[in-house]
Amino acid sequence: MDFTLSNEQRAWQMTARKFAEEEIRPLSLERDEIADPRETFDWEIIKKGSKLGFRTLAVPKEWGGHGTDFVTQALVMAELAKADSAISKTFSQCWKWSHLIAAACSEEQKRRFLKPFLEDDAFLLGKGISEPSAGSDNRLPPGDPKAGLKLKAERQGDHWILNGEKCFIANASVGKLFFIDARTDPNAPLRQGTTMFLVPRDTPGLRIGKVFNKSGWRFYQNGEMIFENARVPHANVVGAVNGSDMKSHAAGDRTGGDLFGDLELAANALGVCDDACAMALALARAKRQGGRALFEQQVIQLKLNKMHLLTEALRSFVMRVAWEHDHKVRSANAGLCMNFSTEVIQEVTEINLDLYANAGVLDRRAEKLVRDAIIWSHLAGDSVQRMKATRRLAN
């Protein structure tokens, strides 16, 4: 057991910490409180972060990226999330699909798409899976071909014609390239009848609908993507036709899970917990009651204890999963860690808010952290995500 970070890992962590504290934190609350969900986004912070490498962190070195390991990625996500969970997620969303490009795209596709992605500080990636009538059915597909996503793709010569609608798609309103899952065999069950396409934002027939107005993670853009006879070249098919399960298989993830995505949510949660712990401790030291610091009270100490023990347990789990990913150790741990992060981030941010509210201190950031944490309920900790992780144990 060696918990020491390498010099390179430590350097990335420090760069991320500095950027998060100096650049992200000052605008975090301000962006969160903008009423119009299309206006919460800020290109300047993305471009600044991109210049430091936070957009292209996960692209392999041979393709001109930084080729960082999973441990580094976990450290950086947590540091960025400490200042703003949603901004951290906007960056790491690009890593998620960089992993996919590296693992699943052909050499020709990499040349076509990775190069512009690397060169453009405002080039963001996204992936479209969810649809109005298909959420959980995409995560744990039943055998029925009628279940799951319905966006249709039909071959027409050298092109595919896409028709249908995606919703809640991350980076929809700001991304330049999307991986889109579409049904290419309506008579087959989801996993056997779906193909993944690389769809640039300027594809004719693709438009972006509404941007969803979430209660938390407000910087992060989730939008509708509407396909009306959208023409996508056959050369943009990722992997094989009817073989969209690429995301997990090609990445060498035999657990059926999302190799990076599960770690991503857990690492992000860790950063938010670190922020909440720091806030709570600062309050307990500074705020006085009856001439004594709140920290002196037993009930306050017990709350701080709960926050810190959960946060440190999550840190251990996150770093272990990152290490296991780097050493190609495959297990249900990433999924379990993601599930666990839901409980931890919600409990820790709620205790923090409770401490502030009980002390009669209004703190909009304490409330923001709780709103951000609620997002984990459906992304990381709902019953489907839990059963999915459990089923890996039995495989």
């Binding site: 209660s215 009980n358 309920s377 459906h378 709902d382 019953s383």
Partner: protein
């Protein structure tokens, strides 16, 4: 003697209010444009309608032209109202309870004669209690089980000058402040003695400022009052005010009824959705995972309601404590701790059934989560309540001199 049968009148008023909420409040309260807005102003037209059917004067005695409802009935009504809108429920509950206390027992006949006619004729005449002060450190905290004072004096002070009281100070978290016509203001007179003054909204020197719910963790169109040499007639001093403000532990559990109503709204939405939405080849409710979750939500709501009804009934029958029928405990405070925590959990679970739709601002579930979170932090909060319950368990009594000592 033990009976949970509601009277025909109680059943009737519950059903009437339930219909009223479904017809006149929910469509307004859940309009996507309203849900999406950063602030949600009080639905005053719906509030007026509620007043018109007698909900503003529910607790006022029949002799004073009210409905004379007991605390249990008031809690049943408040729950129903909160299913529609927590702010409307809070404003009506506070006005009704406070009006009952003021007009039926605390005001002199002369005071009643001055204030009651307008209260009865004007549908938008609300009354509000101004007690909380920013920075008034009333929490037990470090003073738990210690002889120090737990109730420091109000910094809002009134001085008698001729035939007027001159009030100076600030109050916040005043439920219904944005609409109330008359305030019952807690203030210090003389040597740290707390008393209550009746202050009309148009009293010279009074400024009312509205504030957002999330800024003070309290439902009910709250606001702050600023008294700058505010003048009211000498006759506006309440002679008898002890009853209204004593024993938080056994008062009417109306805040908890609001929490319950919010929980029920979330539960009903989740139950409907779970029967409509098909994933995994079946309606959600036919999946064990969702079925068990809905059951857990129902368990929390039913247990909370049982506790609320018991506390409400107990506040109607204080003799049940003395004759040993009920445990000698602060039942309302106990109910508050349970209901706020259990229902916050239940509402979060209900929202989870909606997947991503559960976090969208234009959808109802995130409002219920936010509303339940306000309940979690409103009032004294669970931590403080637990310390107070603990002192009650130990029968701890502060030496009577403690409050006086702290005041000097």
């Amino acid at each position: 003697m033990y009976s949970l049968h509601l009277s025909p009148e109680q059943l009737q008023i519950r059903d009437t209010v339930r219909d009223f909420v479904a017809r006149d409040i929910k469509p307004l309260a859940l309009a996507p444009t309203r849900l999406e807005a950063p602030t949600r102003p009080l639905l005053v037209e719906a509030l007026d309608k509620a007043s018109h059917i007698g909900l503003r004067t529910l607790a006022l005695s029949e002799g004073k032209s009210g409905a004379g409802a007991d605390n249990l009935t008031c809690c049943i009504v408040t729950e129903e109202l909160a299913v529609g809108d927590a702010d409307i429920a809070a404003v009506l509950a506070h006005t009704s309870t406070l009006a009952g206390a003021l007009f039926d027992s605390l005001m002199t006949p002369e005071q009643c004669a001055r204030f009651l006619p307008a209260f009865l004729t004007e549908q938008r005449y609300h009354v509000a209690l101004a007690e909380h002060e920013d920075g008034r450190d009333a929490t037990l905290g470090v003073n738990y089980h210690r002889p120090q004072a737990s109730e420091p004096p109000f910094s809002t002070a009134a001085v008698r000058t001729g035939d007027e009281w001159i009030i100076q100070g600030c109050k916040d978290r005043v439920v219904g402040a944005s609409i109330a016509a008359l305030f019952a203001v807690r203030a210090t007179i003389g040597k740290g003695r707390a008393t209550t003054l009746l202050v009309p909204r148009d009293a010279p020197g009074l400024t009312v400022m509205a504030s957002e719910n999330s800024q003070h963790w309290q439902h009910g169109a709250c606001g702050s009052l600023i008294f700058d040499r505010c003048r009211v007639p000498a006759q506006n001093l309440l002679a008898a005010d002890a009853a209204l403000f004593s024993d938080h532990g056994r008062r009417i559990p109306q805040e908890q009824a609001i929490t319950l109503g919010i929980g029920r709204a979330a539960y009903e939405a989740a139950l409907d959705y779970a029967q409509l939405r098909v994933q995994g080849g079946r309606p959600l409710i036919e999946h064990q995972a969702i079925g068990a979750k809905l059951a857990e939500i129902a368990v929390r709501l039913e247990v909370a309601r049982t506790a609320i009804w018991q506390a409400a009934w107990a506040s109607d029958h204080p003799d049940a404590f003395t004759d040993g029928s009920l445990p000698d405990l602060p039942l309302t405070m106990i109910t508050a701790v349970f209901a706020s925590e259990a229902i916050y959990r239940a509402v979060k679970d209900a929202a989870e059934c909606f997947g991503a739709m559960g976090v969208m601002r234009d959808m109802p579930l995130q409002k219920y989560v936010q509303d339940a979170r306000i309940c979690l932090h409103s009032g004294m909060g669970s931590s403080e309540a637990k310390l107070r319950i603990a002192e009650a368990l130990a029968r701890y009594r502060r030496p009577p001199s403690a409050a006086v000592l702290a005041a000097e």
